[in-house]
Symmetry: C2
Subunit: 213 residues, 2 copies
């Protein structure tokens, strides 16, 4: 498999975690978003939507959207599972993942921040306030959801799931923009538990071949 991705992309990081948790080897193909490499013909030939991550399977299919890719990996390589077996547990884990992937991250990705600055002439400080607002308010919702679930070292159950694959990159991202992480005990507890595992360590941006420090 080939993973077209960018070291600092949260959505790419989610898929790298899933691949590491499942012990699946992959070719790392760097696509430098800040340099606009995703808009070059080479990458357009790979994926229609010009978004990273994109996973090329050994059969030559190209998959997009990080949560869809992770579910595909989970269905084709079921061990260890990244979703619970029961429908209610699966719904809980997917909802946690989507709380991050649909409510927080989309507001803060690179093309949105660029639009704020270039098209809307938003100042640096207002852009950073926007960023921190959505991460903090989103993580507060996330914490509220976790607080209603049974105690667990991770987001759900006794092993990392799709929800943790989404949470960890979001925390990295927020920390880079100095988001206040106080008062989120379940959330930060899950983050810290994950970061003790080799899969999360290996997948992190600082261990990527295209890492710029």
């Amino acid at each position: 498999m080939k993973l077209h991705n960018y070291f600092r992309s949260s959505a790419s990081f989610r898929v790298r975690i899933a691949l590491e948790l499942k012990g699946l080897p992959y070719d790392y193909r760097a696509v430098h978003l800040v340099k606009g490499e995703h808009k070059q013909p080479d990458f357009a030939a790979v994926t229609a939507s010009a978004l990273v991550p994109a996973l090329e399977t050994d059969e030559g299919a190209v998959l997009s959207q990080s949560m869809a890719i992770i579910e595909y990996l989970d269905e084709t390589h079921p061990n260890p599972p990244l979703l619970p077996k029961d429908p209610l547990g699966r719904a809980r884990v997917r909802a946690l993942a989507q709380l991050i992937a649909c409510e927080i991250h989309p507001l803060n990705n690179l093309r949105v921040l660029k639009y704020l600055v270039r098209e809307m002439k938003v100042e640096e400080e207002a852009k950073n306030t926007w960023y921190r607002h959505w991460v903090r308010s989103g993580l507060e919702m996330f914490e509220q959801e976790l607080q209603r679930l049974p105690a667990s070292p991770y987001c759900h159950g006794d092993a990392p799931t799709l929800a943790d694959c989404c949470l960890v990159p979001q925390i990295f991202n927020g920390q880079r923009f100095n988001v206040d992480m106080a008062g989120l005990p379940r959330t930060m507890g899950a983050f810290e538990a994950c970061m003790k595992l080799p899969a999360f360590q290996k997948a992190q941006p600082s261990n990527c071949p295209d890492n710029e420090g």
Copy 2:
């Protein structure tokens, strides 16, 4: 089942379509987002994140996040299926759904538009330009993805799926803000095919009990 939702919420509309496609009866519980009813204690008692839609199952569990709810309905009431049976097809359908639910809709929901106006002092016209930019550019990506898939009256295959449950509300939403829908033949073809079906007709905002016209 009880569906806490709002007639104009795209994410609520997605779940209403899925419930209608599966022929599942439900109590319609209106939560008026513009009046802030989602922030009232009544609704906070139901759901931790104060987001609609929220589905209360007959067993009393409360589920959040529209795509997670739809997958739960698909797993607990498999007919008609809203996802293909093969992992690759499932990945395709989920990616199409997520292209809308993660790349387009989050930038245009009510709380984001409110933040732009109230906190960032963005003018009405710039807000509408923002709105149309993300819908149009997102639907162009969606069209590119559809163009790479085999011909189909719907988004994928010969019956509506999770992807159509997400597409149709996004088109309604875009039309309300006068987004140009020209040059999107597969996308608009799928929309029109869906709107010929009673399930999509019944679920639309104008047929909701809290519709304000």
